[in-house]
């Protein structure tokens, strides 16, 4: 499997460049919607849909969108797809819509999506951009579901709304609150770091090269941009 194969693009987002646990992007929706597995799954899939659509669209237009105008163009495209997803969820999944609330709108400013548009879709062909969107979306969804499982099972004594008899009597209510979410989040990041022995991200140094996004950065060597280490 070559480093740049389509499959590796797809798999990158799931572990190696997991947006939530490795790149530490999208922290706000991660903390806000992982109280329940349903909410986390809904949020993850909604973000995935927006991510794939906006990645494809932006990739298609990557030669048309002027360099200086890329952020406004990306935001218009992302906001458009978020609104489409929101209307579809509201129409077909009203319960999920009620659960996600304002966080659905906030996908617009989810930095994973803008981040992938900026780092990947803006300079890669359509198929690879779509795969990147799917991979990142799945990575996001997976992280959210894992985190929500821990929080819901131990915090509320249920899984996806189904009560677990024994757990019901020993709930840790703290986990259902925002500080509990932050704690679980931190532990998961630490776990990923230990399991991968710190391989991802490769920390070459505390400079631009050590940045997890270095490989995707517009100019690989930041020094060329005149940015000091």
């Amino acid at each position: 499997m070559s480093k740049n194969s389509n499959l590796s693009v797809l798999l990158n987002g799931i572990i190696k460049e997991n947006p939530v646990l490795v790149l530490i992007l999208g922290t706000c929706p991660t903390l806000a919607t992982t109280g329940t597995v349903d909410g986390a799954l809904g949020m993850g899939l909604a973000a995935l849909a927006v991510l794939v659509c906006s990645n494809v669209f932006i990739s298609l237009l990557r030669n048309v969108i002027p360099e200086t105008m890329r952020i406004p163009c990306y935001i218009v495209i992302i906001a458009g797809f978020v609104t489409v997803v929101k209307m579809i969820v509201q129409a077909y999944l009203p319960d999920l819509y009620a659960t996600l609330g304002v966080y659905l709108d906030l996908i617009t400013v989810n930095c994973i999506i803008l981040g992938r548009a900026e780092m990947f879709a803006g300079k890669n062909p359509v198929i690879r951009s779509a795969l990147d969107g799917v991979g990142m979306g799945l990575g996001f969804t997976l992280s959210l579901v894992v985190m929500a499982t821990i929080r819901e099972v131990f915090g509320s004594g249920s899984f996806a709304g189904y009560e677990i008899p024994f757990m019901q009597e020993y709930t840790i209510a703290f986990l259902t609150k925002a500080p509990g979410g932050l704690l679980v989040y931190g532990l998961l990041i630490a776990l990923i770091y230990v399991v991968t022995k710190g391989a991802f991200p490769k920390k070459k140094s505390f400079s631009c090269e050590g940045c997890p996004n270095a490989s995707n950065c517009y100019t690989p060597n930041c020094a060329e941009k005149g940015v000091e280490n």
Binding site: P66, T68, M69, I77, G80, M87, I88, Q90, A91, Y92
Partner: protein, 392 residues
Amino acid sequence: MKKNLKNIAVLVCICAVITVLLAATNAITAPLIEKNQNAAANEALLVVMPGAEGFETVDITAYSLPQTVTEAHKETSGRGYVVKLVTTGYGSDFVIMCGVSSDGVVTGAVCLSSNETLGKEKTYGENFKDKNADDVDAVDTLAGATKTTEAYKNAVKDALNTAVILGGGSVDIRTEEEILADNLNAALPAGEGKFQKHFFAEIVDGVDAVYTADNGAGYVCVIGDAFIGVNADGTAITADAVGADKAAAAVATIKATTLTDIDLTAYPTLANTVVSAKKTATGNFVVETKGAGYGIKGGNEYVPASGEYIIVKVSMTADGKIIDCLTVSQGETANLGDACKDEAFYGQFDGKTEADYTEIDAIAGATMTTDGYKQAIERAFAAVKVLNGGVK
């Protein structure tokens, strides 16, 4: 310049494409979203009217409805109405939703939100199902929650009345105060609607109450269900000769009553219990006494007394029979002990003597207030004995 124009053109094009996309999505989803929202709103209505096909909101400002009604919905197939009411039970903002069928039967009632203490109101509504206006009062009360029960029953009655009014019928939705005011005004229009209840210092046989017009136009005597106006000169306005005589006699007695202040400094034993005392020419007494209710440090006035006494005005014959009783002021707990200011409570003392004055219905949930009130009455009996020649 050319570069800027290109930038603008690209952004405009992207916006246009996105707009088309949004418009298309909206065209597909808008009807579904509206349907979902209506279904959610109707869900609560369906609870109190199972089997309803749909609802349309009634403009309640177009009707003269009970004040508690905040929303009304008509069932589209004509089954009846669902009424939302906000009332006050033990606490305020007691919200009830009640469904009423077109033939005047409650199809369901639920409490949407409340600040009641016991929480029993949550399921109380079930008891009203299939009841009509005549059955509501007979529904079992909630033990220990008199005010909640009363508020719930009144709300259900209001809902039943609302359904009648919205259905084109008419019903008397006046409160007791409004009915009294209307009756007084009808009996003596010259009184211009402002009356004070007269405090009897003399025994007036056959007349339940007398109201005096604020503007001096005359009096209204209540004899049973009849309201008889009496002009300032003492002539009754009624075709009923017997009633007219009674009313004229009552007014003559009232006009003849003269009260003389009694100097209380001559009675040191009454200094702590009696606020004021007056005597009529016929030998009756009118005393104002104080009782330590819940407003006085939980009823204990001796260590050290602070708070507000219940002040009671009592008129009494020299041999110790209460003619009339009235609460002058009180500082009891709102919505509980302050029921002692209602005539329904203090009116019970009329005609009582020292032997039987304790045989009255206590105020539910306010033992301290009831005891404090009885203390004030007891002190009135004691005061009259002293004023009538007992130990000073």
